[in-house]
Assembly symmetry: C2
Homo-oligomer: 370 residues x 2
């Protein structure tokens, strides 16, 4: 399913290709997040025009609303939302532990209450995989516990042991799509290694590094990836879950990561903030009032081709939906185009210079990290 097309001479970066039931993905790749069956404010046609190759759906949210009876009736998430490209779904584990209420963890899974109406629900490894099968996911993620940060070693070890037992259950549940394991182990490198080796022993189509971007300092996030990568096979794709900023993604790619997802492009757009190669711009700021230029010179996104910073500022200040729509399109274009640039530089053997220049030019954002 995954073909390693080339490796960077200066880092662990890789250029790859992943074949799924709904199409082929060129890696490294960024996956726009469509939590509730839509990438926020963006239509499937617009995603296609942005050259999005794959999007992410959230099992927990779709399990709660509209529910699997609806998704089953419509023949899966692709049909329901009319997106015909690949979809990766998470397992719901992360949200069950972070969003839901009054949970009780047992060997079979997690009892929780819907964050919408408090109704009692249950997800375990079997249910999570069956749900992703119902969604028709092209890449199904294993059901895991993502421990909080910081975390005591004993809790992390117990949690990891259960997550690995769940991994064996997940392996047995048939799904139409690929299955990716998730390396956990919190900030304990030996647990990260144990997790990676155990998952590889079971054998999955790809491997994610989970439990990153959960509030830890950035160096620790990098070390978590570094602790897992050496124990993951070269011939499988690697996915860092739920991040990050543009420089973080470049640094992760240099450490051997192929796939990313992050809500940052659409989330900060709703606050009027746009990505550029030199950092983020908050378009609410007064200096943009009379600015006739685009968000970023030379950008070919639908916002920059037509609209000025001054107009976008007006839309954001007036809380007009068109403003967050246009900035969302720009930000998604920025992330997707950045990955296209990375792929080109990997093919040309010039990734090291691109990474160095990009990271040096990108000013630390005043926005919080994802």
């Amino acid at each position: 399913m995954f073909t390693l097309l080339g490796t960077d001479p200066d880092s662990l970066a890789r250029r790859g290709r992943l074949v799924t039931r709904h199409g082929t993905i060129e890696t490294p790749i960024f996956m726009p997040v469509g939590t509730q069956g839509t990438v926020k404010s963006v239509s499937p046609d617009e995603l296609t025009a942005l050259h999005a190759q794959i999007i992410l759906g959230n099992t927990y949210h779709l399990f709660i609303r509209p529910g699997m009876d609806v998704i089953r009736h419509f023949g899966g998430l692709h049909e329901f939302m009319q997106w015909n490209g690949p979809i990766l779904t998470d397992s719901g584990g992360f949200q069950v532990f972070s969003l839901a209420k009054l949970r009780k963890i047992t060997e079979e899974g997690v009892h929780f209450q819907s964050h919408l109406d408090g109704s009692p629900m249950f997800l375990g490894p079997r249910e999570a995989m069956e749900t992703q099968a119902t969604l028709g996911s092209d890449i199904c993620m294993l059901f895991d516990e993502c421990p909080p940060y910081p975390c005591q070693r004993e809790y992390a070890a117990d949690s990891l042991a259960r997550t690995l037992r769940w991994a064996a259950v997940c392996k047995e549940v048939p799904t139409p799509g690929l299955k990716f394991g998730i390396v956990q182990g919190s900030s304990f490198h030996d647990l990260r290694r144990e997790s990676a080796e155990a998952l590889v022993a079971i054998g999955f189509d790809g491997y994610a590094v989970g439990g990153v971007s959960v509030g830890e300092p950035e160096p620790e996030m990098m070390r978590a990836v570094e602790a897992a990568i050496p124990y993951l096979p070269a011939d499988r794709p690697r996915y860092a879950m739920g991040l990050g900023t543009p420089p973080q993604m470049l640094e992760m790619i240099a450490r051997g990561i192929d796939m990313f997802d992050c809500v940052l492009p659409t989330r900060i757009a709703r606050n009027g903030t746009a990505f550029t190669a030199t950092g983020t711009l908050n378009l609410k700021n007064a200096p943009f009032t009379f600015d006739k230029g685009p968000i970023e010179d030379g950008c070919t996104c639908p916002a920059c081709r037509t609209f000025s910073r001054g107009y976008l500022r007006h839309l954001v200040k007036a809380e007009e939906i068109l403003g967050l729509r246009l900035i969302s399109l720009h930000n998604l274009h920025f992330y997707l185009h950045l990955m296209a640039q990375v792929r080109s530089h990997l093919e040309a053997g010039t990734f090291a210079g691109f990474r160095r220049q990009f990271v040096a030019a990108y000013k630390p954002s005043r926005e919080p990290a994802p």
Copy 2:
């Protein structure tokens, strides 16, 4: 500027053509409302794809935000919002009287406080026309007072007298676009006649009926139009301001009205409500949960071509922006397509039957009238 192409044998309905600086408008026509320099949630490209011929901008809102210094800097509203078709602007009078605070009416105009930050402002007939000139409006509306409903005769008469004195001032202020007078007179038919005759004596490029759809019963709304129409010249376009439902528009067309604007299509879309030929549908309702059909069979709008009622219901329930976007597109398409049907039937001499059938099939909405 206006060419009367034909009249209906069975009613006062007319088929016409109005030439403006930014293009030609085929009447009867519906004008989507772009209050704050954007038709809510819709891009200019999407308006073009919907075959919108002209949109409306609100002088009061744009005067307050972003302000005329910004609009002047950008070279007008067309350039600012990147809509290259015709724009009609109201005068701000209606909003000054309905939205602003602590107003004081003098012979020169109205002192008011911005509804955004309370800052003191002034608009009079001269300032309203100059503001519309700065906006680059293709059709400028006269600055008038729209009396509340119900209204004492003495207040209505005094208000009308001042509005007519303001009309003479407005006539003298140069604007690049056409100028439309506004017939007032509340529910007093002799005042409506006086207003119409006085405006025609001054001479304008078109005439609106104002002070309708301000809370009065529907029969009274129709009578206000009927009271004005006989005194308006056949060779000028006629515009009923701020309405209405689809049957109301057909009834107004039969009474000789050529132009409409209304926030209803986009406003009720934000509540999940869609127009159909048999009345409105609230897509939040549970029966649509498993519905694979489009909002309306045979509809060619971007929502109906691709998406199901069940998916739209999910988006509305989940408060996803894509839901209100798609329903806004459908509702605007419905209004614009209805006017295209009216024009075809007027050309074919079959308007009477179309009107009768449409009004009979359209079930009274549970939505409040605009």
